[in-house]
């Protein structure tokens, strides 16, 4: 048998389910792999070794009593450190939440537990999910398993790297402007941002409430489908979660690509696009045609406005969402302040990193009286125009395919001095959050430097099932996983 840790989540699940291996063995395999490679990757903020083993043993016990412990029974999963897990530190990559321990589980955590998943650890991230390289973590710089001198992407860089490095078969991330898809592309694993409202946000520490969604990373599209089936669905604790029924994503995976119309927006192949990325996506489009899909060029005319719109709305919401980190009730409080205003100022100045402070200031500015109409309100109007672009597009086509990112993973420090360059990493992904539709990044090729290139498959609202089945068809045609793996971690 191949090394256990190299298997996909779905493969591990079926071995556990058929009792060929125990849940404890699966978890131990992940722990051993983690111990071997984590010192070089630095994907985790903490590993819940004892809790994971005891959860795994409980699953085994349930199996031996003849019970069914659920659809993810015994499968280890890593959680981005922005999702609350009762009793364990949740830092959001920030100094301000150093030592903070939530009192409750996020809804997705509760659902994963009920499905028998083994909660393996919390993964590193850009502070408060603000960033595209995980370099904004206050704690450590996670490395890309394909090239340890490069970033894993962000903000869910720890989750993407943990899966890419085979430390866990599954991980949860959160995506506000590309924070799942961009690191998925950089790390060569599938990652899904769901339709806004598909997955409960309760327990997800908010960055930008109208954009944030939790979603899975896996080693295969099937892994994504299996985990989505567990975490999707309405939640009474989240008023913005949708009552739309959850289809059987796994069952629908085999529907293939044949009758689909695929749109390719010309605005997503701009002049500055890395030619290797463009070529890789065009190659996949040829394969899609060969598999029977109809591929046509479409236009999303307001695309150019997406990044400014995104950075106005996301920062506006963030400036308000992050107001609670004031040092009064929990988290970091600077010592020695003489009065309240000084306590606020010093706690927040020292507690937050540079990028977070920058975004709070941007967001505060665009909401200020006298500027609200020119920025926030106008951005909301542009958001409507962007939505309309996609509504029209989806009258013509079933799915849209674009590059996930304009380039492959960059080197540490390459973009940290130029926030605008960093922001442009989200150019193909942020629009999708503004529109609220689902999109998956699928690894499709390696660049000449041996770095993964991601392809973004975009679907209409609540079109995850169709999107996943199309992605699965492409995945099996491209066979990326069997052909490539990160060599940087080989002994």
């Amino acid at each position: 048998m191949r090394e256990l840790f190299r298997l996909t989540g779905s493969e591990q699940l079926s071995l556990i389910r058929s009792r060929e291996i125990s849940a404890e063995e699966a978890t131990r395999a992940c722990l051993a792999r983690m111990e071997a490679v984590e010192p070089r990757v630095l994907a985790f903020r903490c590993v819940l070794r004892d809790a994971a083993l005891s959860d795994a043993r409980a699953i085994d016990a349930a199996f031996s009593r003849g019970e069914d412990p659920g659809p993810l029974a015994g499968l280890p999963i890593a959680i981005k450190d922005v999702i609350c897990l009762a009793g364990h530190p949740t830092t959001c990559g920030s100094r301000t939440l150093g030592g903070f321990i939530p009192a409750f589980d996020a809804t997705v955590i509760e659902r994963l537990r009920n499905a028998g998943a083994v909660l393996f650890g919390k993964t590193n991230m850009d502070e408060f999910a603000m960033g595209s390289s995980t370099e904004n973590s206050a704690y450590e710089k996670t490395r890309n398993p394909w090239d340890l001198g490069r970033v894993p992407g962000g903000s869910s860089g720890g989750s993407a790297a943990a899966v890419a490095a085979d430390m866990v078969p599954l991980a949860l991330g959160s995506d506000t402007g590309g924070s799942i898809r961009q690191p998925a592309a950089f790390c060569g694993v599938p990652g899904l941002k769901t339709t806004y409202g598909r997955v409960s946000r309760f327990g997800l520490v908010a960055f930008a409430s109208s954009l944030d969604q939790i979603g899975p990373f896996g080693k295969s599209v099937e892994d994504i489908a299996r985990s989505l089936a567990v975490i999707a669905g309405q939640d009474p604790h989240d008023s913005t979660s949708a009552s739309v029924p959850v289809p059987d994503y796994v069952e629908e995976l085999s529907r293939g690509l044949a009758p689909l119309r695929i749109g390719v927006p010309r605005e997503y192949f701009p002049r500055g696009l890395d030619s290797q990325v463009g070529d890789a996506v065009r190659f996949v489009l040829d394969r899609a045609r060969a598999l029977g899909a109809r591929v046509e060029e479409i236009s999303l005319p307001h695309t150019d406005y997406a990044i400014p719109t995104y950075y106005i709305l996301a920062t506006a919401e963030a400036s308000s969402n992050l107001a609670r980190y004031d040092g009064v009730r929990y988290g970091f409080r600077a010592a020695g302040a003489k009065d309240l205003a000084e306590m606020y100022r010093r706690s927040r100045s020292a507690g937050f990193g540079k990028e977070v402070r920058r975004r709070i200031m941007l967001g505060t500015y665009v909401l200020s009286s006298g500027y609200y109409d020119a920025y926030y309100l106008k951005a909301q109007k542009v958001r409507t125009l962007l939505r309309n672009d996609f509504v029209e597009a989806f009258q013509q086509v079933d799915l849209i395919i674009t590059p996930t990112t304009p380039s492959v993973a960059f080197r540490f420090g390459e973009k940290t001095e130029d926030p605008l360059q960093m922001y442009l990493s989200d150019i193909f992904t942020a629009t999708i959050n503004l529109v609220g539709i689902p999109a998956l990044s699928l690894p499709c090729a390696l660049s000449r430097e041996g770095l993964p290139i991601g392809l973004q498959v975009v679907g209409p609202p609540f079109g995850e099932a169709r999107l996943l089945s199309a992605a699965a068809a492409l995945e099996s045609d491209l066979n990326f996983r069997a052909r490539h793996r990160p060599k940087a971690l080989d002994p």
């Binding site: 930008a208 913005t240 200020s368």
Partner: protein, 478 residues
């Protein structure tokens, strides 16, 4: 120059829901600090608000009662500012799309009735409370029990023309809230709070003057006094050739003055924007109609009905309709006794006096309306006198016994038997030859002395009407 004030009031009323507006915590007052809390109302990372439907129902109820238009679609917004009693760093409120707009409250002025227009009523969450500890370490403690308690903010138009109108408006508004059962109206506990906007202008002028916001108005009396002070202050500023500055001022009840709290430059920029964690609030017409169908009779309607139905004076009806429970009590007593005016006298007199004395609510009154009617029946039947009845009432209050039982047990039955009373009168006359002579010499005031003596001799049980008649005959001489 004559100046006239222009006043608008912003009233915050806590809604009497069981749980908070965005989480399941209890709203009970007086629990130990920070025990009525959960991650949601503590503003922990990762929490989300879920709207309490009852709070919306109560707000609609108030809106309907005061004639507002209830909007089918309204929007929560975040009001952003930093303060330790505000856990999230923003208050979830409503801004440019409130739940209720328009409407008005009719008040009774000395001259006539007047309608004070309303701008809007919206829903929001309350903040916590700060407790400043005086002493060596000068600490401030935060109690978040109140954080997240549902509030409605009722904003009036600048239609109020005097401090006493403001007082009347607030009294009527409070009474409406009590009738609807949506707020307990308790200003001491902060369930009802008021800010005022006030400006003055030369009498007859159409243009508004510069307004000043008054805060910390913790009782109706303070509101009236603060307004009086502030109107004078502004008039003096203008008279002296100065300009009123737009600012917020704090009322200090000890000195009965207002002091600058913050100027216009220091005014908060609240950076309102739509609350992304909540969907737009959609209220369908069917629900509104259901709520409308359940509305009780309101104070002014009831007052008018009491006057028409029972023929009692308007003043009585005013007092009796202060709260729904008091009016209910009165109506029950009026019906049971068949004597509406008598019932009104009793309720407004003895009942309210005792309640005030014991700081109790009418709902806790130990003498039920039926029992009160029973007592009134004894007077009417001549079994006891009015003055004795007050004593019996005291005892009913204390023992919760019925009037006839007390009268019987204490042998208080009134003596109306003429021969028995005549015998007593004879004794009294014989014992007081002096006053008798005075009376017969024309000093008729001495009649009162003889009344008192006879009542005393009967231990208060003598029927005063009969005694007066008999005394009249006997004293004139036989």
């Amino acid at each position: 120059m004559e100046f006239e004030p222009v006043i608008g009031l912003e009233v915050h009323a806590q809604l009497l829901t069981q749980s908070k507006i965005f989480c399941g915590c209890t709203t009970r007052f007086g629990n130990p600090p920070n025990t009525n809390t959960c991650p949601v109302c503590l503003g922990m990372p990762g929490v989300l608000p879920v709207l309490n439907r009852k709070a919306v129902e109560y707000a609609i109820k108030v809106g309907l009662a005061v004639g507002c238009e209830i909007r089918g679609r309204s929007l929560f917004a975040r009001k952003n500012y930093f303060y330790p009693d505000l856990p999230k760093g923003y208050q979830i409120s409503m801004y440019d799309q409130p739940l209720c707009v328009g409407g008005g409250i009719t008040i009774e002025t000395r001259k006539d009735r007047k309608r004070i227009g309303l701008t809007r009523i919206h829903l929001e969450e309350d903040a916590g409370k700060l407790i400043h500890q005086e002493g060596a370490d000068d600490r401030t403690l935060v109690d978040l029990n109140r954080a997240g308690v549902p509030l409605i903010e009722i904003v009036s138009e600048p239609d109020i023309a005097s401090p006493s109108e403001a007082h009347t408006y607030l009294t009527m508004l409070r009474s409406i809230l009590l009738y609807l059962g949506v707020c307990d109206g308790n200003m001491e506990e902060g369930s009802l709070r008021c800010d005022a906007n006030v400006s003055v202008r030369p009498a007859g002028e159409k243009q508004f003057g510069t307004k000043v916001e008054l805060k910390n108005l913790n009782s109706f009396r303070f509101i009236q006094k603060a307004l009086e002070y502030e109107i004078n202050r502004q008039a003096e500023v203008l008279q002296g050739g100065g300009k009123v500055v737009q600012e917020s001022r704090l009322y200090d009840p000890d000195s009965d003055t207002t002091d600058l709290m913050r100027g216009k430059e220091e005014a908060h920029d609240y950076r309102y924007f739509p609350e992304p964690d909540l969907l737009p609030l959609i209220v369908d017409q069917k629900w509104i109609e259901e709520i409308r169908a359940g509305l009780p009779e309101l104070p002014l309607e009831r007052r008018d009905r009491l006057v028409a139905q029972y023929g009692i004076p308007a003043y009585d009806a005013d007092v009796l309709t202060t709260t729904r429970e008091l009016a209910d009590y009165y109506e029950a007593a009026a019906k049971a006794s068949g004597n509406p005016k008598g019932a009104s006298n009793w309720v407004m007199g003895e009942v309210l006096r005792k309640l005030k004395e014991e700081k109790a609510e009418i709902t806790a009154c130990p003498v039920s309306p039926d029992r009160l009617a029973g007592l009134m029946g004894l007077i009417e039947a001549g079994t006891i006198s009015g003055s004795l009845a007050k004593e019996v009432f005291e005892e009913m209050w204390a023992t919760r016994h019925a009037a006839p039982d007390i009268v019987k047990a204490r042998g208080l039955t009134q003596i109306s038997d003429e021969p028995e009373l005549l015998a007593i009168i004879d004794q009294v006359m014989a014992a007081n030859p002096g006053p008798l002579a005075q009376y017969r010499a024309g000093k008729s005031a001495t009649l009162g002395f003889f009344m008192g003596q006879v009542m005393k001799a009967t231990q208060g049980k003598g029927n005063p009407t009969v005694i007066q008649k008999l005394l009249g005959e006997k004293l004139k001489g036989s």
